[in-house]
């Protein structure tokens, strides 16, 4: 009779075979030393796995636990980038985009009113602020 496969012996060890298979396997084990040896070796592996102890590194676990909780909870409370940050960023961008006005040729001679340049910039900034506030409201 052909020897029993290791997988089948493993299922035999766990009582997971169908009832009909047991008599055949038992009678084969009575006459086959090789299969008996393998079955005993599987029992050794099973015993070792059953008695496998995991050493718990208590101090390291505690240190890691405290640091993981602190860092995870702090990250929850931080606001990396909010609407107000976006608003400030956009305002700065628009301010920079209108700063070219002071370099317009003849801007200083266009109008004798000394504050025209300042007024022009200020008006443009006011207009831009108004636009951005509307955007903020929409968002």
């Amino acid at each position: 009779m052909k020897c029993i496969s290791i997988e089948q012996l493993s299922l035999y060890l766990e009582n997971e075979l169908s009832e009909i298979e047991y008599p055949f396997i038992n009678s084969h084990l009575e006459i086959c030393e090789s299969c008996r040896r393998i079955l005993n070796q599987l029992k050794i592996i099973d015993w070792e796995l059953e008695h496998d102890k995991v050493i718990i590194p208590t101090q390291e676990l505690e240190k890691m636990r405290i640091s993981a909780i602190n860092s995870a909870l702090n990250r929850q409370n931080e606001n990396y980038f909010t609407i107000s940050d976006l608003y400030d960023l956009q305002l700065n961008t628009f301010k920079n985009s209108v700063s070219f006005v002071k370099y317009l040729p003849g801007i200083n001679r266009l109008d004798p009113r000394p504050n025209l340049k300042k007024n022009l910039e200020s008006s443009m900034n006011q207009l831009l602020n108004k636009m951005l506030k509307n955007v903020g409201t929409i968002l």
Binding site: I6, E7, Q8, S10, L11, E14, E16, R37, I38, N40, Q41, L42, I44, I45, D46, W47, E48, L49, E50, D52, V54, I56, P57, E60, L61, E62, M64, R65, I66, A68, I69, N70, A72, L73, Q76
Partner: protein, 189 residues
């Protein structure tokens, strides 16, 4: 023993002490599964930390009227399975202490002497290395079956696999361990 509903509610309020109490109660459980899967202390600590962070991020989704342990177990198992190992950290199986003078020993010998303890520790290390060489799915099933003492049906439900598949995984894993350990001469009977 499961934890109280009020502790979970405090955790949902992102209370630092509540999380500390919660994790302290379950850290052995989490670590054991992680270690059983990777067989390496540093990696097991890494995975445990990832589990903690996942729990903190998803505690709001947890229904406190249900038991906490199965939910924790599922997160731990999934985090372990998704863990990408840094190959440099992964210890290769070391056979340096197996030489011609090393006796073949039956592993059931109680380690009452120093020599016995050294031999037992060596076997444990070799067993760890052999388990490490198993495919991912085999390792998690072995861990849940032997370290967590779970029944086949429970393992099948947790991993969402058919029952027959779990049974054949265990027997194939044993067959692979048998092949490795007998090649090292450690199963002489």
């Amino acid at each position: 023993m499961d934890i109280s509903v009020s502790l979970i509610r405090q955790c949902k309020e992102m209370n630092n002490d509540a999380f500390n109490t919660l994790f302290k109660q379950y850290e052995h459980f989490v670590y054991r599964i992680c270690y059983g899967y990777v067989r390496n202390k540093e990696e097991a600590l890494d995975i445990t930390q990832e589990v903690y962070i996942k729990i903190i991020k998803s505690i709001q989704n947890f229904d406190e009227s249900k038991p906490f342990l199965p939910w924790l177990r599922k997160i731990t198992v999934n985090t372990s399975l998704n863990y990408i190992r840094d190959n440099q950290k992964h210890a290769a199986a070391s056979l340096c202490y197996i030489n011609k003078d090393t006796p073949s020993f039956p592993s059931l010998t109680p380690a009452i002497s120093i020599e016995g303890q050294v031999i037992a520790n060596s076997f444990k290390t070799l067993l760890d290395d052999s388990i490490n060489n198993l495919p991912d799915n085999y390792r998690i099933v072995i861990t849940l079956r032997y370290l967590e003492d779970m029944k086949y049906k429970e393992i099948a439900d947790l991993l969402e696999q058919p029952l027959g598949s779990v049974k054949s995984t265990i027997s194939r894993a044993r067959a692979m361990l048998h092949k490795e350990l007998s090649a090292l001469g450690l199963l002489e009977v």
